[in-house]
Subunit: 181 residues, 2 copies
Amino acid sequence: MPLTYFAAADDGPWRVVRHDTIAGAPLSAIHRLRVLDSVNSAGSTPGDWPLRGVTSHGRYVTRGERRLLEARQPPLGRPEATCAALIPLAKSTVWWDLAQDERRAIFEDRSAHIATGLRYLPAVARKLYHCRDLGEPFDFLTWFEYAPADATAFEELVSHLRRTAEWTYVEREIDIRLERV
Amino acid sequence: MPLTYFAAADDGPWRVVRHDTIAGAPLSAIHRLRVLDSVNSAGSTPGDWPLRGVTSHGRYVTRGERRLLEARQPPLGRPEATCAALIPLAKSTVWWDLAQDERRAIFEDRSAHIATGLRYLPAVARKLYHCRDLGEPFDFLTWFEYAPADATAFEELVSHLRRTAEWTYVEREIDIRLERV
């Protein structure tokens, strides 16, 4: 699987406008960000950057759900989507020790993660990167893009998810908001 | 996740007694193997070795199935289990493009992967390593240990799995048999 890097870069096309530690250890502040397919070490300061992940395959989504998602989800890079969010998170050992059916039940039956995301389509474009198997400090990096007019809807989506049963397993979460330079 | 390496090593505790290419491109032959938590580059010839993977979490097993597995599965390293098999395999893009429910249906409802494995417990100890997200040439490395008296049963298990619907998605498979030195 090809890696994607979220790197600090003085000339990066995304300017950080907010950086909040929601849970767990903080992450070093950066000013500008670039999303890359490869990095040279010079581009990767401060020490806990770049973050990296792989798109991999869906772990919970069923065929029916994927059909709904694909029918509604917009691509990244829409000209009007000048707002972005990068939300790295890690779940607890308890979560990862659950069996597949138990994780799926919490994820969707109890927390409606997919159904909730669907309500914010096509406003919010989203791409998920996996990094747990890579030995990274986070399990997932999620990248979102939306227009300024949809910023309130995006806040609603994020705060809704943080109140779900699934989120009780989130041990570390950083919320970085960006705007296109 | 900590990495495990399967490395060529002249003084390795496992001697290769058979090395078959079941599907796809072959893998360089080695004579002795050692399972390690880390490698220095000197220990990793020929070029396509070492293989590496992470134990990660179960992708399909339900709580009920895991209870059955845990009640019956033996640990690695039993003194009488002097036979081992290392089976690296990669599945097709078609497999990885399936949704979770479709993969699970092929894996267990149609192919009875877990149910079949259960029939060979506690004779055959098994440990699965994931490596697709690591960008490795294989998706999985499975390591098995069994006593010489159970060698026929192990052949039966392997040949049974190779006739399942799941195996029609296997694009590359190498079967390496070893004995403890």
